[in-house]
């Protein structure tokens, strides 16, 4: 089953991505196959690493290592590969910083294997996707939400948003930056469905 599904997806993707000059397959692969794993990667890192404030950094490092390694050959399926990278990173760091007892690392290796299995029911309908987006927007602080809505839903430019809200352009820029940052974190924190691949 998993085999069939995988090869179907690959051929559909190839068909859609017909290019005359090679597009960046690596970027597409990263966006479509690695990013959707973020919720699980973060969960894995939180469980495996004591200090929560390091987790964002670890996640970013997992991405960098994954991306660099994939330059040679795209690992498919991506999931076991990404979790191997994450596990090795945690072990490296633990050894280097002498913060995690060896027992924990051993546990971790087992945990890593267990997490390679895909979770249950990953299909998110487009309607649910919309609800998800709405919920993420709603979680922004009021002013930031207003700026993001004017920019993304109403389609206003930065200057127009500043004029409409009577705030400086610099403030608009800061709200947009932080808004984009927060939406990215929130949306990738949700388990991903078939959405990004369709």
């Amino acid at each position: 089953m998993a085999e069939t599904h995988h090869s179907d997806r690959k051929s559909a993707e190839e068909a859609r991505r017909e290019t005359l000059v090679p597009a960046s397959d690596l970027d597409v692969w990263f966006i479509q196959e690695v990013l959707p794993l973020e919720a699980d990667v973060m969960q894995f890192l939180r469980r495996s690493w004591q200090n929560a404030s390091d987790v964002e950094d670890l996640c970013q490092e997992v991405y960098v290592r994954t991306y660099e390694a994939a330059k040679v050959r795209l690992p498919r399926p991506a999931r076991p590969f990404v979790f191997t990278v994450a596990r090795n990173l945690v072990i490296d760091r633990a050894r280097r910083e002498h913060v995690v007892p060896i027992e924990a690392v051993a546990d971790l290796e087992q945990l890593g294997v267990a997490l390679d299995a895909p979770g249950p029911d990953r299909v998110v309908l487009a309607r649910d996707e919309l609800r998800l987006l709405q919920a993420a927007i709603d979680r922004l602080p009021p002013r930031r939400r207003e700026v993001v809505i004017l920019g993304r839903i109403e389609g206003l430019k930065g200057r127009e948003i500043a004029a409409r809200l009577g705030i400086t352009e610099q403030t608009v820029g800061e709200h947009l930056t932080e808004g984009i940052r927060a939406l990215t974190d929130m949306l990738l924190a949700e388990p991903q469905g078939a959405e990004g691949k369709s």
């Binding site: 930056t177 984009i180 939406l183």
Partner: protein, 323 residues
């Protein structure tokens, strides 16, 4: 550990990525910005993946435009679109009548031409050598000339995002007419007896025939939608929102605002093998707001049943709805 410089590094890099993205999307973007951005992007793989991450999610939020009233179905009074100018002249009508649906003599297959097709429900992105992009919608046929500056849309719909070159304008030959880009993003759709050209950015010229010396029917500016039928040519100016809705298929969505039910059904049917049939002429008056995934026949049918209170009957590959 919390003052580990590496930990703050990821946060800083991701914030920088978001800052670049919003700068590009919302503010003036100069060649100097582009150069500085390129430098930043290539400075470290961490920058690169951080940018891919915010960009991918930001593109996903594009469909937020559909959020205004998802599945909020209401019956609305008939309103006519604002018409900017109308070519009602007999001469124009005659030209169009002669040309719509047929292909002019200039439509000769060239050497090195490539053909791209999509099946029902499929989409395809074609990247040209100069960075221009063409997105081919469901059930479409497009031929691309060897020089990459000319395309024939033989069937269906395509979105063009063309890198402008004053020396070599990009031409789309479609339904007996020519669309010449003057630096632009536009969408072209051809159906039996009807050609629609919508302009999003820049400028484009619509010519009466495919001949190089053809008369200019209209110059389109952003927001303009030209519709040519046997009865003539209409150019209406649409809101940014309406235009964005018209392109929501690029995110696999169909977004309607104040649309007659038959129009919604006709659009949905373009993307699906299972066709919805309206078996009740009184339903033609019903107008709805809706956002539906392009493959959302089942979702649509549920809405028709539960929200609109319509009768639904499934017969082979057809779904028949009536009051």
């Amino acid at each position: 550990m919390s003052n580990d410089p590496a930990a703050s590094d990821a946060h800083r890099v991701r914030t920088e990525a978001a800052a670049w993205l919003q700068k590009h999307a919302f503010w003036d973007w100069s060649a100097a910005d582009e150069a500085e951005f390129d430098r930043w992007l290539s400075a470290s793989p961490s920058h690169h993946v951080a940018y891919l991450r915010v960009k991918a999610i930001w593109e996903r939020t594009e469909r937020l435009s559909a959020l205004r009233r998802p599945f909020n179905v209401r019956v609305v009074p008939d309103t006519r679109p604002r018409k900017r100018f109308i070519f009602a002249g007999i001469a124009v009508a005659a030209i169009l009548f002669g040309l719509v649906g047929g292909f002019a003599v200039f439509d000769l297959p060239g050497f090195g031409e490539q053909t791209f097709t999509t099946a029902i429900g499929d989409r395809r992105i074609i990247t040209l050598s100069d960075g221009s992009r063409i997105e081919l919608n469901t059930n479409s046929v497009l031929r691309l000339g060897k020089t990459h500056r000319q395309a024939w849309l033989d069937q269906g719909e395509a979105y063009f995002d063309i890198v402008h070159d004053a020396q070599r304008p990009f031409n789309v030959l479609v339904a007996g007419k020519r669309v010449e880009d003057l630096g632009t993003k536009f969408v072209v759709r051809t159906e039996t007896g009807k050609l629609t050209v919508g302009l999003f950015e820049g400028k484009a010229s619509l010519k009466a025939s495919q001949a190089p010396e053809a008369a200019e029917l209209a110059v389109l500016t952003p927001g303009d939608v030209a519709t040519a039928t046997a009865h003539g040519l209409t150019v209406t100016t649409k809101t940014r929102q309406a235009l964005r809705n018209a392109l929501s298929w690029r995110q696999n969505m169909l977004v309607f605002s104040n649309a007659p039910l038959p129009e919604v059904v006709a659009q949905l049917n373009r993307y699906n093998h299972r066709k919805v049939v309206i078996a009740d002429s009184s339903l033609a008056q019903m107008k709805i707001d809706a956002s539906i995934p392009t493959n959302g026949v089942d979702a649509f049918v549920r809405v028709a049943k539960n929200y609109l209170g319509l009768r639904v009957e499934t017969r082979d590959d057809e779904i028949i709805i009536s009051r």
